[in-house]
Each structure stands twice: as C-alpha cells, then as structure tokens.
Amino acid sequence: MTRWHLSRRSLLAGASGTVVAGTTLGRARGAYAAGKLSVGFWDHWVPGANDTLTRLCREWAEKEKVDLKIDYIPSQGNKLLLTIAAEAQARSGHDILAMNTWLPGSHAERLEPVDDLMKEILANNGPTNPVVEYLGKPDGHWRAVPATPGSQMKGPASRLDLMKEHAGIDLLAMYPPDGPANAAEAAKWTWDALLAAAEKCHKAGYPFGIGLGTTSDSVDTWGSLFQAYGARLVDEQGNIVVSSDATRAALDFSKRLAAFLPADAIAWDDGSNNRWLISGKGALIFNPPSAWAVAKRDAPQVAEKIWHHPAPAGPKGRFGPYLPYYWGIWAFSPNKSAAKSLLAHLSTRSAAEQLVAASQGYDIPGYTSFNDFKTWLEEGPPKGTLRHYPNSGDQILSIAAAPAPHKIAEQIYNQATITKMIARMVQGGESADKAIAWAERELEGFMRG
C-alpha cells in the first residue's frame, strides 16, 4: 500500500510537472494548452452513476490543477462507436475515450501503450481476469486501462419461482444468498439441465428468453455455449478449425435448445430479452442486472423473484461471458501524462468500490481481487441476487470467439458468425455441415489483413 502511494504520487508529480511546464508553453502554442484534458466516458444507464465518476475526476482535477472536460457518450445509436471511429480517423478529439470489448485491439496502433501504468496498477490491484488481458493486451502491450463503468457479466438472470415450479431447479441451493456457491449442487447446473428446464418452462408457457440475433447479448450466450463444448471457429494461430466434432455437437445442442425459444428469437436485440423477463413471460434470460433493475421500477413483483447466477457447464467446463470496458488514451493526445495520472486515480480499489456502488452493482471491475465488494452482497430485493453475479464458483470467464487472433475474433463477434450458423440451421433448415461450410467461407473473408 505504501509503495503504491509513493509510486502513484511520483506519477502524479510527473504529470503535474508537465502541466505546469505545459501551461507556459501552451499559451504560445494556442490551440491546445497543456493542462487541459478532455475525456469521453461511457454514459451509464444507472441514474446517478455518472455523478460518482464525475466527482472522482473532479477530485483529481482540482488536486492536479487540470482543466478537465468530461463528456458522457451513450453506446446507444452506436454513438460511442461512431465517435471512436471518427476520432481515430481525424486523429483529434478527446484525450481519453471509453472503449468496450474489441475496440482497444482494433485501434491498437492509434492508442498510447500503457504498459508502465498497468505495471503499477497490477502491482497494487493484483491480476485481471483472463478476458480483460486478452482484450486489453492484444499485441503484447496493454493498449488501454480496464475501466469499471460498463464492465459486466452476462450470466443467466432467472426467475426463482418459475425455475423451481416448472423445471424443479432450486437455484438458491446452488447459489445461496448468504454464502459461496454450493459446489455439489451447482455441478448439476449444466447445459443439458438448462435444455431440460427450457423444455419444461416452454411447456408451462414461460419460455426462456435467449435471443438468436446478432447483437452482443445473443453472441455472448451462444459463444459461452460453444466454449463449454470446446467448439472453436479459429484457433490462436489463426487457423480455421470450425469443422470439428465439437462444433457439430454444439450446433446440434443449439438446434434442440432453439426449439424451445420464442418464435422470433432470431430478431432479438439486446433489449428484447430484458422486456421478455420484465413482461413476466419468461423464466430465464442471459443478461447483466439491467433487466432486473428496470423490473424493480416497472414490475416489482417480477423483480423480487429474479436471481443472477453463473452460466451452465458443458463438457469442457463452465464458461461465463464477461464484457470489459476500457479507457484508452489516443496516441495523438497532447496531454498523455495527465491522462495516465487520471486513469491511475480511477483504478484504485477505493475508486472502483465507489463506482460499483454507484452502478448499484451492475459494474464488475476487471481485477479479480475486487470481486468481494459489499454492494453485491447487499443489493436487492431479493437480497443477495447479485451475490453470484461477479465471478462465482467454478466459472471461467470468457468472451465469444476467443482465443482467435484479435482482428479475426472481432469480426466473428461483430458479424455474429456463431448465432448466424445456428440461425441458418434453425430458420434456414440447413444441415450442420452446410452451416459449417458457410462459416468457413465467412471466416476466410475475415482473414484479410
């Protein structure tokens, strides 16, 4: 702790040194006075969450005498994506931008490497989970700093009552509200168990709300299923390995599961499953706690029966989708040292804890040692629903399309190759082999450099 303070202070001192020097220089240069920092954060959907982030930043800015400008950019309407693309092209804009999942990798050449900063942060916070490292260190260098706001898990959010009544699954026995996961009970929570439950709930009139669309919720769910079966599309070296028995097994399972999903699951987007759960029509969705949070407001009688818990296990293990956000510093930023100083300030345990509390437990920081914040134990009703929302039990965090090389994996994820394969079988009536052959052709296209 002491060492951290020292090193952080020296970092800050370095930064403010530049700030002072910069101000005198800045007048001469005109357009960009050093000592100015412009930041584009992800616009959090939880009311008030932005305020805590703003407060943390202001604290820093006052101490460092930096003229800080904060924009909150929503991901809706692809606003954040457009801003990032345009700023990358124009080589101008904010100094720091929030970037989710694949973006640090796709803009790696245009981002300032933050290896030095990450070394400091990791020395204090301990290691990140493997997804954060895979996505944030795409070319052997850390290209962005893991951010707390927006980073999320996409495990199941299930109806305790419906799952028990219609499928005979007692989620509280597996993932109790007041303690760690019960390993023996949780071992029964497999994809096969989910399939059986899906069938029963479908019969009872409460189908599972798992989308088969092309947006991130759908891709994450089916991606974790593929990983649980050991089905890969492209391996680490960039070879196309989609044609395998594992893929065929995963596709076969997917087809059986899809039969019990809502008829238009293929058109679902990231909001459809939320509405499905909130409307009370469904027994299970894969989603971060946003659906539950909205249900607390609009349908409290549904909300108090929702339980967040890890994904089911498959032959190769239990894989839970984790989607990290990052803060990246543009290589063109005129004030990189101040930017790094701010990100160091936001990466402390105390900052992360405040941000998690402000997000009502939605955000999950990427550092494994941060998984014990009390917010998750306290949020409710039902009390404890978020206890197993951060990684719990034997779950391995993952992201769809990993471990393919970054630029290929990004295409697989964004083009939703996995869900499209399943959709071709379910809706197009194609055989597994035909869907795989189609995927092979698509993947060849993704190889272009």
């Binding site: 692809n78 796709s106 803009h107 092309t214 809502p262 058109a267 987007d269 459809s272 509405r275």
Partner: protein, 311 residues
C-alpha cells in the same frame, strides 16, 4: 411579341460587344461561387477521399488498388446485399408511387373544402422525423409488446413474427418505408393533377372516353414528368436509406434485410474495416447515377417535345 423583344435584347447585347457578355459571365460565376465552394469542399473532396480510402488495406497502411472490390465480388453476402437493396428500393418506390397516385386521385375528387383536411392528415407520416417514427414502428413490431400483434390476435389471427422471419422482416422494413414516403408522392401528384387543364378532360368526355381511358390518355401523359422526377428522387433516398433498416432490423435476421448503407456501416464502423465499408458505399453511386441519367434524359426530352408542341 415576346420573340421580338428577346431578339431586340439579344441584338443589343451583341452590339455592345463581348465585354458585356464577359462581365455577365463573371457575375454569373460569382453568384455560383458559394455553391461551388460548398460542393467542392464538402462533397467532391470527401467523395474522392473515400475513393482513396477504398483502395487501402484494412488497417489503412498500404495501397491495394482494386483488391477490396475483387474481395467484395467473391463474398456471397455482398451479392445478397445488392439483391436486397434493389428489392427494397424498387418495391418500396413502386408501392409509394401507386399509393401516392391513388390517394392523389381520391383527394382530387373530393369537394374543395374537405381537401385540405384530408391532405393534412395524409401528409403526417412524411413530416415526422423518420428516426422518431421508425422507433414507434419498431415498438409496434416488438415481439413481447407488439401492439400490431395484439390487434391481430384480437380479431382471431395468428401473431406475426414481424422482424423475426426474414421475409416478414423484409416486408416490415418496406412497409415502414412506404408509410413514410407515400405522402410525398401523393402531394406531388395532387399538385400536378390540379395543373392538368380541365379542357382536356372535357374534350375526352365529348369523345366519350371512360374514366380508365381518361387516366391512360390524359392524366398519365400529363403527369409523366412529375412521376419520373418523384420516382427518381425517391429511388435515390430509398436506395441510400440507413435509418429505417438500421433501427428496425440492423440487417438481420441472417443478413437478409441489409441494404448498402447498413452493410457498409456494419463493415466500416462496427467491424473497423473502413476501406471495405467505403467500397460498399461507393457501389451506390454508379447504380444511382445510371438511373438518374436515364430518367432525367427522358424528362428533358419530354420537356423539349412539350415545348415544341406549344411553342
């Protein structure tokens, strides 16, 4: 008389020599200068820059010539998008034109004092910003809360997977486009109908023409120019449409509703392949350009013929 005056004027210009003509040419040029600057700086230059982008590799570090285009030609999704864009634009424009024409006729037949009211109500879809109206359509199509499906079920019909089934999704997307665009056609045709001289119909009545014959031999020839021009404009706007498809389906299911603009966005912005996205966008230009030249040439020829007849 008019010709005489024009002739006199022209003679005066010639008499004063070339300097006046040259001065007028300069004035004419300066009047157009703001337009020229705007178009050069914010349309022509960016367009050529995009052309340049389209010849780079994915990370935009290397010139690859036409490799992006040849790459596209080998993608099955590309040909799907070409086909779907054509289906989308052509069928939407045909329905917009037919509905617009029908509505214009119906409104035209009403007594004068009722016309304004009907016209106003029918114009509403075109006046609401499309990004907003598409949102409400999407909300009406939404699987769990669909207000349309509620109506269908309440009359005993099956719920429709508006956006879930690729063919229904195509229908839904086209329906919204027709809903948004048909009023514009109606307004244009209505105004044109009013400008058709009543004598022509009287003459047709005397010749014993029925309503259908009047439509074919009087109305349609008189409206030919305006039909061509509105169809052209609508074709351009529909072909380049982004909002409606993006908000309703984002190209799904299974890419079966993607059009050029949405697929270009998917590739260029969402998948970070700006050169490829630029390539796809560029394909719109020659297709539309050909349609424009074809239709406008016809319009000009017709105008000249009409001028020849009357003058």
């Amino acid at each position: 008389m008019a010709q005489a005056a024009g002739g006199a004027y022209r003679e005066r210009v010639v008499a004063r020599g070339g300097s006046l003509a040259r001065r007028r040419a300069w004035i004419a040029f300066f009047l157009c200068l703001p337009l020229i600057l705007l178009v050069l700086a914010l349309v022509v230059y960016p367009a050529f820059y995009s052309l340049h982008l389209a010849t780079l590799n994915k990370s935009m570090t290397r010139f690859v010539g036409l490799a992006n285009f040849t790459f596209l030609f080998k993608r099955e999704t590309f040909w799907m998008v070409v086909e779907q864009s054509v289906i989308f634009a052509v069928s939407a424009v045909i329905f917009k034109a037919l509905i617009g024409f029908l509505l214009a006729h119906l409104v035209h037949r009403l007594p004068d004092k009722g016309q304004r009211k009907w016209r106003g109500m029918l114009l509403v879809p075109w006046v609401i910003p499309p990004a907003m109206s598409t949102l409400v359509w999407w909300w009406m199509y939404e699987p769990s809360y669909s207000a349309l499906n509620w109506l269908l079920r309440s009359v005993g019909l099956e719920a429709v997977p508006w956006l879930g089934d690729p063919y229904w999704a195509r229908f839904s997307v086209i329906l919204v486009n027709v809903w948004y665009g048909a009023p514009f056609f109606m307004i244009m045709y209505l105004a044109a109908l009013k400008s058709v001289p009543a004598e022509l119909y009287e003459a047709a009545d005397i010749d014993g023409a029925n309503a259908f014959q009047k439509l074919i031999y009087v109305t349609l020839p008189m409206l030919r120019n305006i039909i061509a021009v509105t169809v052209l404009f609508s074709l351009i706007v529909t072909f380049a449409n982004f909002d409606i498809v993006r908000i309703l389906t984002a190209g799904g299911p299974r890419d079966m509703t993607h059009v050029f603009a949405t697929w270009a966005f998917k590739l260029g912005i969402e998948s970070n392949d700006i050169p490829l996205g630029a390539c796809v966008s560029l394909f719109m230009f020659p297709i539309l350009g050909a349609a424009a030249i074809f239709i406008l040439r016809d319009v000009h020829r017709r105008s000249r013929e009409l001028a020849g007849v009357t003058g």
